[in-house]
């Protein structure tokens, strides 16, 4: 099996701890991300998928649990130097290409910010050369370097966001709904670009989105989140063909497909937590049903699923 790049162990992110309005946005999730793969994370709004991404990159300090990047904990006390080291390896692409670029900075300065902070360019000339190179990589050109973000369309801005993330040569990129704000015809352009970059640079992605069809297309494995918990984790094909957790089944049945005939005969499933009917003392955890396919379930459900899917 491939090498683990990132290990997330029992990660918790609670907000307003100790107050009556405490929110358990992420409530104990565990998974690994392997080198060179794309892990998709899906779920409805408010399920904690974005918080998970942000906590992994330490935009939030985790309430509990560990994030190990190549065996080293990302969280915990760190000197500025150590932090910088992590920041170079992990980068993020944000959802809203309008809000995530500073409107007062030129594109060149936005892209080169990371280069400057990490001192990756020795001279002004080298810095600009690097910026031009990055612009070209993401399908823009030299002339764009001196313009401001408002002069670009949504798709082009997202390309600038990608160039900025690539500037420091990261190993791992968290893409938080990178295409949700874009038009259909532009979404495919950005997804193709991300796939091309992955092939060329051997990047690892955590791809967070709610559009399951796009996630299935780009991801090797997919994790499904529901109310702060990871409820199912499986290879993309397998998850689509054999969704085991009732929530995943309901999610899959809800996606409208661009085919009028199937749509006419579709039956939607709804998810009700009552179907589990857990007893108080049952231990819920991620259990492996078929190789690589994990479901959050009780011992009893595990045996039932095992009997159902073992071939």
């Amino acid at each position: 099996m491939a090498e683990k790049l990132l290990e997330i162990k029992n990660l918790k992110q609670h907000f307003n701890v100790g107050r009556p309005n405490m929110v358990k946005a992420v409530d104990g999730i565990t998974f690994d991300i392997y080198k060179g793969e794309t892990l998709g994370l899906v779920g409805e709004s408010g399920c904690g998928k974005s918080t998970t991404g942000r906590t992994i990159i330490r935009l939030y300090d985790a309430t509990d649990g560990q994030v190990l990047f190549e065996g080293e904990d990302v969280h915990g006390k760190k000197s500025a130097k150590e932090l910088k080291k992590f920041n170079r390896k992990m980068q993020m692409i944000f959802q809203d290409p309008y809000a995530s670029l500073n409107p007062r900075m030129t594109v060149a300065d936005i892209i080169a910010e990371g280069i400057d902070i990490h001192g990756l360019a020795k001279s002004k000339k080298e810095r600009m050369e690097r910026v031009y190179e990055l612009l070209e990589t993401v399908g823009l050109n030299k002339e764009h370097a001196n313009r401001y973000p408002h002069e670009f369309s949504g798709g082009q801005r997202q390309r600038i966001g990608i160039a900025r993330a690539l500037a420091v040569d990261p190993d791992f990129i968290i893409a938080d709904e990178p295409i949700s704000a874009l038009d259909v015809s532009i979404q495919a352009q950005v997804v193709n670009l991300m796939k091309k970059l992955q092939r060329e640079k051997g990047l690892t992605y955590l791809f967070i989105a709610h559009d399951l069809s796009m996630v299935k297309y780009i991801s090797d494995r997919i994790g499904v989140m529901y109310f702060g918990k990871l409820v199912e984790l499986a290879p993309a094909e397998d998850l689509y063909k054999n969704p085991m957790h009732p929530y995943t089944q309901s999610l899959l049945s809800a996606i409208p497909l661009p085919d009028p005939e199937t749509e006419r005969s579709r039956r939607r499933k709804s998810y009700d937590t009552a179907v589990h009917n857990y007893a108080d003392n049952e231990k819920l955890e991620m259990r492996e049903i078929t190789p690589g396919h994990f479901v959050y379930c009780s011992e009893k459900e595990y045996n039932e699923l095992k009997a159902q899917y073992a071939k």
């Binding site: 038009d183 015809s185 497909l257 085919d259 009028p260 749509e263 579709r266």
Partner: protein
């Protein structure tokens, strides 16, 4: 079937500092009673402007309906004054907006927002109005409507707010409901519920719906007919089967091919449409899509294509259907969905007047 709405050669433009933006450039379509027409297209294609013009909601100035007619039950509403429009809005035509949080009044109880319509258009008393509001909330599937009717929008979840919006829109039994991306801001599971609800209510009340969206999955689910818009024009229009199983316009091909399919395991590169939509301050000469179109012919850059008719209900605006045009193969992803439809004419027919 009876025609409820006829839009003829509608043109809408906006005065801006950069010049006149021709947002809608000669759009014609009609809508029958009880039918759902989906309008698809990317942002800036003029789909929202078209629908807002039907309610005359575009700000004038800077906006202007510079040509064409909008016939509601045979009566042109373009020359109507704001006062006259007030009698039509909410009563004959109503609208559901994309973002239920910004389109509901946060300082008014949900019940009062529904009653407002009833008191204005149906001369109901407050008590009757309130009872009807409770009924409507129950109709759109809100639990405990007696309690909910006295709550404020912030006490509702996103899906519930959208249901409340639908209740307001349907309060006066409108003949036409315009839904401008009503489910875009919602999660897929909630989206499925809202779509079911809209179809169910349509059956009960026999309303016609214009459904604006960019999600082709949603279109396949709700629409009877589909109009594909690009750069302020309808480039293809047909029944939902014709658009999904026998698309003829290269832009429609592009839209269908750029979506990954959930069913097949194909990991081949998505067929993205290159480039970006044209600037409508200076619409390009010829076919507006030509610059992004890999099937563009020399004539596309010279002359705007006319509308061709492929069947009784299917129209496409592309030179590729001209008898002299070369035979082209649509992209692989589109070919897979193509099927022979019985209603298709033997040969595409040129439509004389703009249809």
């Amino acid at each position: 079937m009876e025609k409820l709405l006829e839009v003829k050669n509608l043109e809408v433009s906006f005065q801006t500092y950069g010049g006149t933006v021709k947002a809608v450039r000669g759009v014609s379509f009609d809508l029958h009673k009880g039918e759902t027409l989906a309008i698809v297209g990317e942002s800036g294609s003029g789909k929202s402007v078209t629908s807002q013009s039907i309610m005359k909601l575009i700000p004038m100035p800077p906006g202007r309906i510079s040509g064409g007619q909008i016939l509601l039950n045979g009566e042109d509403i373009v020359p109507k004054t704001e006062k006259q429009m007030e009698k039509i809005r909410g009563k004959e035509i109503s609208m559901i907006f994309q973002d239920p949080m910004t389109s509901l009044n946060p300082t008014m109880r949900v019940g009062n927002q529904i009653m407002e319509v009833l008191i204005k258009h149906q001369n109901m008393t407050k008590t009757d109005g309130k009872n009807r509001a409770i009924e409507l909330l129950r109709l759109v599937g809100i639990p405990m409507p007696e309690k909910r009717v006295n709550q404020y929008p912030h006490e509702f979840s996103g899906g519930m707010r959208q249901r409340a919006m639908i209740a307001i829109a349907l309060a006066a039994n409108p003949k036409l409901l315009i839904a401008d991306e009503p489910t875009t801001a919602l999660d897929v599971t909630i989206q499925a519920q809202i779509l079911e609800l809209m179809k169910d209510l349509q059956n009960k009340m026999d309303t016609s719906i214009i459904f604006i969206t960019h999600d082709l999955g949603v279109v396949a689910n709700v629409a009877d007919r589909v109009a594909v818009m690009y750069a302020g024009q309808i480039v293809e229009m047909g029944t939902v089967d014709e658009i999904f199983y026998d698309p003829r316009h290269p832009y429609t091909w592009g839209l269908l091919a750029s979506m990954p399919s959930l069913e097949n395991d194909d990991k081949a590169e998505l067929a993205a449409i290159p480039g970006t939509p044209p600037d409508l301050t200076n619409p390009p000469k010829g076919d507006a899509f030509a610059a992004r179109n890999q099937y563009a012919l020399a004539i596309d850059f010279e002359e705007e294509p006319p509308m061709f008719q492929i069947s009784e209900t299917h129209f496409a605006k592309t030179w590729l259907l001209h008898p002299d045009a070369p035979q082209v193969e649509p992209p692989e992803a589109v070919k897979r969905r193509m099927r022979q439809l019985s209603s298709t004419f033997e040969k595409p027919v040129l439509v004389k007047e703009g249809k």
